[in-house]
């Protein structure tokens, strides 16, 4: 169980069914709903939407504490609990932290740093990478790494793959594979197009595979010593890290994923005062990242990052304008043609999983003329993920997403390096470990084949 609806709390309003892209929420109007796990892609949008809270009035004085226990939520939590909720793995994280034999490594997704402050009363979309690193350090993780780094690596692998497919005649169009809910959706509904999916793993899993191999090596450890935790804006990442194939490092690549909200609980649970935290750096070398890695958090970000590097891969020249604005935006489906030397690369960006259906149907009908398509399940990419701080009022949603998106782009603009291939950490990885993108080792560790249902 990754995402569930509490039968005792649900009022049956079916507002969640309105936002569910997979038509997985079943039940009569006015009656408690259930999630059909065969259809559910675990995106957590229902969790974000649900307002049916555990109420003293409706459920009694004792209900709140009881529900908290049932859900494995830290005792210290006092905030409202709702009918739709995701799994909470904080107990596992706490246990690992307490285990002296575990070398705990944490990675943090790009969208976390533009949202977690909200749960401490910061304004919407406040950019807080420094506090985030400081908080993780105080929690007691041995290595504070960043998913932005494997995001840069993803670009190297996926970008190389794309260039190959385009220049050497592979299966096109190629879809991104960073979003686990999208991957799950394809598996559930369109297994026949699996070859269109990039074989590159998602940044979380690439990070996981590197941390337990090259990372362990750097720290003089073995993969067995390492307990790898990821902090994600996404409920489905919890599912992804548990997928059976995600153990190419020889171990479970990522041991456990928690959400942005889980991390906020953990910080509060440990009595860490967010407001007074200093700004700190992520740890070397896998805490180094470029602007390209950080924009993975917004819709179009993977595409833009890929273009920044892909341009140089194909032409040998840096991209004239590093801000690839044609792929930015929040519309459900956007198309652009990017001139890369003599090549006119036709790209598409889908955000909001429901919007992918017509794209796939067009592709199957042969009317879709595109090379590369980014797909993100959540409304505006990972910044609007199911594990992000939940808004009390939907009226604030648009403002929150816009602020988080803007903060992400600000972060990108202000970083010294903005292209994945320029990252010294990426260079180090390939120089010292993987040799080159899509190398044999890279394929083994960083690529996978899905649809093994």
């Amino acid at each position: 169980m990754i995402v569930a609806i509490d039968q005792n709390i649900c009022t049956g309003c079916r507002e969640c069914a309105e936002v569910c892209p997979a038509f997985a929420i079943e039940g009569d109007q006015g009656k408690p709903q259930t999630i059909n796990t065969d259809r559910c892609v675990m995106c957590g949008q229902c969790v974000q939407k649900c307002k049916s809270y555990v109420s003293i009035l409706t459920h009694g004085k004792e209900a709140y504490e009881k529900v908290k226990k049932e859900r494995n939520i830290p005792d210290s939590v006092t905030e409202p609990l709702f009918a739709a909720y995701p799994v909470c793995n904080l107990d596992k994280v706490k246990a690992a932290l307490a285990d002296p034999n575990k070398f705990t490594v944490v990675q943090c997704a790009p969208a976390v740093r533009v949202a977690i402050g909200e749960d401490f009363g910061d304004e919407l979309g406040k950019l807080t990478p420094g506090k985030l690193a400081a908080a993780l350090r105080r929690i007691g993780f041995d290595r504070i790494y960043d998913t932005n780094f494997p995001a840069d690596v993803t670009i190297m692998e996926e970008g190389t793959e794309l260039v190959k497919r385009v220049t050497e005649g592979g299966v096109l169009p190629m879809f991104t594979s960073c979003c686990p809910a999208w991957v799950k959706y394809m598996e559930n509904n369109y297994p026949e197009i699996k070859d269109h999916l990039s074989s590159a793993k998602s940044p979380q899993q690439i990070g996981g595979a590197i941390f337990k191999t090259f990372g362990a090596e750097i720290d003089g450890k073995t993969g067995a010593d390492i307990y790898s935790v990821s902090v994600m804006p996404c409920t489905c990442k919890v599912f992804e890290c548990g997928r059976p194939e995600m153990k190419d490092s020889g171990y479970r690549d990522v041991d456990v994923a928690i959400t942005t909200r889980d991390l906020a609980w953990l910080i509060k649970d440990l009595g860490i005062d967010w407001a007074s935290l200093p700004e700190e750096e992520f740890d070397q070398p896998f805490g180094i990242y470029t602007g390209a890695g950080t924009i993975f958090g917004v819709t179009g970000g993977v595409m833009e990052a890929a273009l920044r590097t892909g341009y140089e891969l194909v032409t040998g020249q840096p991209i004239p304008n590093v801000d690839v604005t044609p792929v930015r935006g929040t519309e459900g489906f956007r198309k652009a043609i990017i001139k890369i030397g003599d090549l006119e690369l036709k790209v598409g960006v889908v955000t909001g999983l429901k919007n992918v259906v017509p794209v796939i149907e067009a592709m199957k009908a042969g009317t879709l003329d595109l090379h590369f398509i980014e797909v993100m399940t959540c409304p505006e990419g990972c910044v609007s993920g199911g594990g992000q701080p939940k808004l009390l009022m939907d009226a604030d949603r648009a403002e929150a997403y816009a602020a988080r998106r803007e903060a992400t782009f600000v972060h990108d603009r202000e970083l010294p390096l903005r292209k994945s291939h320029e990252s010294p950490a990426v260079k180090k990885l390939y120089d010292e470990f993987l040799e080159e993108p899509n190398s044999h080792l890279a394929h083994h560790l960083l690529h996978t084949s899905y649809c093994i249902k």
Binding site: T11, K51, S52, L57, E79, G121, L124, K390, L392
Partner: protein
């Protein structure tokens, strides 16, 4: 021109899905000040105490809230003087409320309920015991909230409506009169 009557919010069971967005918005706007509630769930440290109540009944559901009665039985029942009429609205002073339940009994709508009282982000304990202090929680029409009643704004289905009884009566009068023109049925 000063209004004579208190406005109020009413729900529409034909539109309401029971999502409680109204209750959540109500709670949020009333706790943004003294209880430091921000815009996300994570900023909440106190129990969710709404001032309107999503009510399920045999044929559906709708929020029930105060009508700001002009002879408010709650106000007339309150011997402690904790309920007063301010700018035409019936308002409870939680600091004065002793939780006697007279108002609950007096209100024919069930629009007032004793719920935990919190201040500065914490529930307030009673003096002389560790029990939580309560207060008569009811709609104050978001008197201090810019933009008016949060429930109305929060509803995804426009199932809540702010009623200005005087203006509405005039509108209905006009409609009723003009219906005569459309039917000419006075002949």
């Amino acid at each position: 021109m000063k209004k004579e009557l208190g406005s109020f919010v009413i729900g529409d069971s034909t539109k309401c899905t029971g999502c409680k967005a109204c209750e959540m918005a109500c709670f949020t706007v009333h706790n943004q000040g003294s209880n430091h509630v921000g815009k996300t769930v994570g900023t909440v440290t106190v129990p969710v105490v709404p001032r309107l109540f999503l009510t399920k009944f045999e044929y559906g559901c709708m929020p029930i809230q105060c009508k700001h009665c002009e002879n408010a039985p709650c106000l007339n029942a309150c011997t402690k003087g904790a309920i007063s009429r301010i700018d035409n609205q019936v308002i409870v002073d939680p600091e004065k409320c002793i939780g006697c339940k007279d108002c609950m009994q007096a209100c024919p709508f069930g629009a007032v309920t004793l719920l935990p009282y919190a201040k500065d982000g914490k529930v307030v304990a009673q003096i002389g015991s560790n029990e939580t202090r309560v207060f008569a929680s009811k709609c104050d029409l978001c008197k201090d909230v810019p933009g008016g009643p949060a429930c109305v704004r929060a509803c995804p289905h426009e199932a809540l409506r702010l009623v200005d009884p005087e203006a509405e009566r005039e509108e209905k009068n006009i409609k009723a009169a003009e219906a005569l023109l459309l039917t000419k049925n006075w002949r």
